[in-house]
Symmetry: none
């Protein structure tokens, strides 16, 4: 294939060979160090030391420092996109798709914090050409959510006037989890997924009762009747009267 990078070539060679192992080690160390120090602040000497090489030897595995970053970010974005599409495959109901997307995004971001963090922080460090590739992938990923919101709004399930803005808002919110989440914290991944997904769904489905009570009648706006049966279980279990 034409677009194969040095890294991919090294990986393709006799599996289990030292070269492939080294390539993987470099990739992992690269992710770790860029996550920790930032791309600019990470030196190739550091990286080499981390995998037990001389810095010059790294160039068997990538063209240059910039390409290492690009490889990491692009592969991550392709992985993210592919897995999201796989998770959504077969689901048609917008609300179910929204929950699936949110849950996927959250779990992915809690599991691969470093990759995700890098992909978000170091876009600025990519050269124009590389950035364009990555941004295009990100657009496609955002497009998944945007399309869900758009479809849900069309179906009358969501109250979303600006799907693009809502997409950015939701993704920012969900992605933010990788800024503070650490495994082993008080809340489990499942609990966090539920909390965040609730916020997303509430945001998408529109205003709740609390604001209704203190509404200014003049400007009041109403919701269309919606099927509450499509709601997620936990929430359905919540005593709704508690807030009335």
């Amino acid at each position: 294939m034409a677009g194969r990078t040095k890294f991919q070539k090294a990986m393709a060679r006799t599996i289990g060979s030292n070269g492939a192992r080294t390539a993987e080690a470099i990739r992992q160390a690269g992710v770790k160090l860029i996550y920790k120090h930032g791309y600019e602040a990470m030196s190739l000497r550091q990286l080499a030391a981390e995998v037990g090489l001389q810095s010059g030897s790294l160039y068997k595995y990538f063209e240059n420092k910039q390409n290492l970053l690009f490889d990491i970010v692009r592969d991550h974005m392709e992985d993210l996109l592919g897995k999201a599409e796989a998770d959504l495959a077969g689901i048609t109901d917008p609300l179910a798709r929204l929950k699936t997307f949110s849950a996927f995004h959250l779990r992915y971001h809690m599991t691969r914090m470093a990759h995700v963090f890098i992909a978000n922080m170091e876009i600025r460090s990519l050269e124009d050409e590389h950035r364009a590739v990555v941004v295009a992938l990100r657009r496609r990923y955002e497009g998944l959510l945007e399309e869900i919101l758009r479809q849900g709004a069309e179906d009358g399930v969501f109250q979303v006037s600006e799907p693009k803005v809502a997409t950015y808002a939701i993704i920012s919110m969900l992605t933010g989890i990788c800024m503070w989440y650490r495994p082993g914290g008080r809340l489990s991944q499942d609990e966090l997924v539920e909390i965040y997904t609730g916020l997303v769904v509430d945001g998408a489905t529109g205003p709740g009762p609390a604001t209704a009570a203190r509404a200014k009648p003049l400007e009041a706006v109403a919701a269309q009747p919606r099927d509450s049966g499509t709601r997620a279980k936990p929430r359905a279990a919540r005593p709704k009267t508690a807030r009335a």
Copy 2:
């Protein structure tokens, strides 16, 4: 005063003198260049050139590069915190406070994208001691929102089981605006404030499929008369009486 930095001293000197003007120019150029290239990638030569100095001369205005970053970030955080507290002063109702906070945060982030971006991206570049200071300020800022949510939940206005998590989620969502917002876009600041605030309030107040109509919450707070016609159609089309 003991804690005065070179920058502050330079600013304090004969106000209006060349020195103060230069100090301010350096600060602004610093923000601009760090925003554009990142702290690590910005060189002091660049910065000096931007303000028409030799790089060595910069050291009349700051201790070192790290301190320039610290000054910028800390001052920004103090400004952010101070202005948020000022905006919230006198408001007691949790929902009003939440709307105020959201609106303030959004407007601040749309107005000072560079500062905000830096404060979020370059924390990693701060030395431990400096980072601690900034993180503490950020905690205080987040504390404002957390306290609002906690109070609202106590009052039964908000459906927030985990105020801390919700705080992170909301702030991530709101802050995300500085990643894509550019002045002069299709949507005005007011419109964006309304959309985002709607999402926040909906998220905080919880699910309300069969429930009340939601006022134009922001207008009540933000004081500027706005044309409610900018509102998205779906909501406007909703039967207003449905939640009354």
Copy 3:
């Protein structure tokens, strides 16, 4: 002026300042080391050590290694060209001009062996754009001699059928002196000038008595029958019996 290099700027500053002295020292050391080791083989660390600096400090005085070479070679070529033109100024007789040119070229090459050597050897090391400039200067210099030969041939003083080829031949011959001449040798500069100039003039003015009878001089030796008609006209036109 637009085309000023770092070197020239450093030289222009307060005369006698340390900067100007350093600039000159770097230039001289550069000539010396490139002469000695070749451009590629000379390291900037060597050069820096030669003038008592750190290698990074050299970059106050030139943009990069390549520009140092270019500066040296271009300045040399301009100097060579300028001095040649000055020497020839006012002389009109072709033979006198030829002798003047030869003498000038020889003396210049015996005096500035290093510069001359570099200018001849390191053209290959110049980047395309720089090489173009230098080659153009060299063409102009060669043009001086070519024009002399052309004029002399026109006047009937020289027997030169191919002025361009003769120009290359003569310049190669004269320039060659810098490959072996060392001051203090058995022969003085004046003696060498006389010997070389004699060869040049003899070559230009054509065959002497000893070879008067050579009709097909080469064929007699080289075994391949060749058409002597390829001979240049001037010689063919010469009255061969005149010297018998």
Copy 4:
């Protein structure tokens, strides 16, 4: 044999084997790349790529980079010397020998420009011991011409006061052809041989008519203001028999 290099050994092995072909390919690629980029600037990676090997594999064919250069230059010099001696064998007349030498040198330099160029340019890149060998070969080669000139002068055929200087001058002139000659140019090899040989012979045989009267040729030009009227302008006007 003791003095055999890896290259020679590789060549000697099963003739026609792959190894010998590779050895030859490396040699040729080496000549090509050194000619093009210079010895220092040519990397062994380049060379290996040119012949379709990994750079490490080259070491089956030479000891190290330096030895590759030495092999090329020494073999070239031995070839040059051997062929010159062969060409001169049997010729006794100094003038004929001079013409033969010139013609041989020119043709050789027009045919093997790359080898010749390398041998002249890269002597500086040879380590001392190797350079000594090559310089000795060159001395022997120059000795051929010097001896011719010396003999001719003894015989009264040539007007050469300093055979050594004349040797350098002539060889420089002739060798210079490889700096600009390109096959397919306006002038054929034969024509160039004739032109150059003419210059050589004229130079060796001494003054032609135009300069017959040169007693102190240079002084006449250099020092005093000159009266071009005293000049023997028209060549035809001079009594040509003066030198008979």
